[in-house]
């Protein structure tokens, strides 16, 4: 195992890398990732605003509906599309195209849709980032949150079983759409609630949105971890992906910076390969790693077995 007492030339295997903090963290790959997320979010915002203020309304000649830009609509309508060739209400051909795009990304780049494209994930990242700033700058908030985390420490054992909840949500949404011919998940979908803000009543979805934004203040990506059915579908295909993160024990100094940086709470520091279905491909762990080559993306056999991060 390499130690900090044996310095290597910069850029070579095992060399020390100075972690980027604050705005400097946006240089390099994280800047590229955040720019992609922001571009997608702004594009959808523009379409939603155009729809809200549209004079042509909906229909074939009307304004694009932002609901047409959600891949999950395509996944929900798969059963109906296969059986009848049509779609459930509120779904368009674009939803199916985006579902295909998501599944291709899941195969070739693991969970990268979640980490690079999903606007709801981006919103959670922004909320979590805001929470970190508040906790850092406002000591009473930091102390209160810390006290709450200590009291809630026992809940950590619920993390793993709760991560299975999203598969139940996926099954309910997909099977419900196939059986009833409409999107049963739509009424509780926080993304639809966000798109419908200012237009019409968002119902229970607005409550879900509020809960996940508050939760984002305390936990990174709570929706992605526990309830997102799109992430669940993505994860099923991502399990087959030949792309994964690999930790080189020769270069690793066991600082656990990678595990602490992971927004999905994966135990990166104790895994040889990170093939978890919860990995969003955000590469925050790679960015946080102080050793060149200790953590890197690799291509290998799909469905990796062994000591992987789950």
């Amino acid at each position: 195992m390499t130690t900090l007492a044996t310095p290597r030339p910069r850029g070579t295997f095992g060399a020390i890398r100075r972690p980027r903090r604050g705005l400097r963290s946006l240089r390099g790959i994280q800047g590229m990732r955040r720019a992609t997320q922001a571009a997608v979010a702004l594009a959808i915002l523009a379409i939603a605003l155009a729809r809200t203020f549209s004079t042509t309304g909906g229909g074939p000649a009307g304004a694009t509906t932002p609901e047409a830009l959600c891949p999950f609509g395509g996944i929900e309508t798969i059963g109906t599309f296969i059986a009848t060739g049509g779609y459930v209400p509120h779904v368009h051909a674009a939803n199916l195209v985006l579902a295909v795009a998501l599944l291709l990304v899941a195969f070739f780049a693991r969970g990268a849709f979640c980490g690079w494209i999903c606007p709801l994930g981006f919103l959670q990242d922004l909320t979590s980032g805001f929470g970190r700033i508040v906790k850092k700058r406002v000591p009473p908030v930091r102390r209160a949150v810390r006290a709450l985390q200590i009291r809630a420490r026992g809940l950590a054992r619920l993390d793993r079983p709760l991560r299975l909840l999203k598969y139940a949500v996926l099954a309910w949404a997909v099977l419900g759409a196939a059986y009833f011919g409409l999107m049963v998940f739509r009424d509780v979908d926080p993304w639809i609630a966000l798109l419908d803000l200012g237009r019409e009543s968002a119902g229970f979805g607005l409550l879900v949105l509020g809960i996940l934004l508050v939760a984002s203040f305390f936990v990174d990506r709570p929706w992605c971890r526990y309830a997102c059915p799109l992430g669940a579908a993505n994860g099923i295909v991502a399990r087959l992906s030949p792309v994964f993160l690999r930790r080189d024990v020769a270069a690793c100094v066991d600082c656990t910076a990678c595990s602490r940086a992971c927004p999905m709470g994966l135990p990166v520091a104790t895994a040889l390969k990170i093939t978890s279905v919860d990995c969003t491909g955000c590469l925050e762990c790679v960015e946080a790693c102080p050793r060149e080559g200790a953590l890197e993306l690799a291509v290998g056999m799909p469905i990796s077995f062994g000591r992987a991060a789950h």
């Binding site: 390099g28 790959i29 590229m32 990732r33 992609t36 309304g57 909906g58 229909g59 074939p60 000649a61 009307g62 304004a63 694009t64 509906t65 047409a68 830009l69 109906t80 599309f81 009848t84 060739g85 049509g86 779609y87 459930v88 209400p89 509120h90 779904v91 368009h92 051909a93 674009a94 195209v97 985006l98 295909v100 795009a101 998501l102 291709l104 990304v105 070739f108 780049a109 990268a112 849709f113 690079w116 494209i117 011919g181 792309v243 491909g281 590469l283 790679v286 890197e296 993306l297 690799a298 291509v299 290998g300």
Partner: protein, 130 residues
């Protein structure tokens, strides 16, 4: 084999955007209107094929749909619908519902009226009123 993070990012964006671009070039990128379940798939053109009213449920009525289509789907004379909402008798059947909105008329009021009309038609007495 190692992959550089920048290449990984480019791969993600490239696959996602590329899929959309290919769908657009093939005419499969449709974001407006819809094809209802059971009425066949979209013809693949940019405009797509709009949903046909079936008269089964009022929730399928949208503002961009024509008042004449509502009349046909629910088998109610157009004149009766126009009279119920105090609309001009010479209103063209192809007029979109959203273009007729007023204090008395809206898409939701049409849905409510049709639901009430259906309930009244199912009972021996009573008549529908807006």
């Amino acid at each position: 084999m190692r992959i550089k993070p920048a290449l990984y990012g480019a791969l993600v964006v490239g696959i996602f955007a590329g899929t959309i671009a290919i769908a657009g070039a093939a005419g499969a990128w449709q974001t407006t209107g819809r094809t209802a379940s059971g009425t066949g798939s979209s013809d693949g053109t940019g405009a797509g094929s709009s949903a046909a009213l079936t008269g089964q449920t009022t929730t399928e009525i949208k503002g961009w749909m024509a008042i004449g289509d509502v009349s046909i789907a629910w088998n109610i004379p157009l004149a009766e619908i126009l009279a119920a909402f105090d609309l001009p008798a010479d209103t063209a059947p192809e007029t979109a519902l959203k273009d007729l909105e007023s204090d008395l008329f809206s898409v939701s009021s049409v849905r409510d009226w049709l639901d009430a009309h259906a309930r009244d038609a199912a009972t021996p007495t009573g008549s529908a009123a807006p």
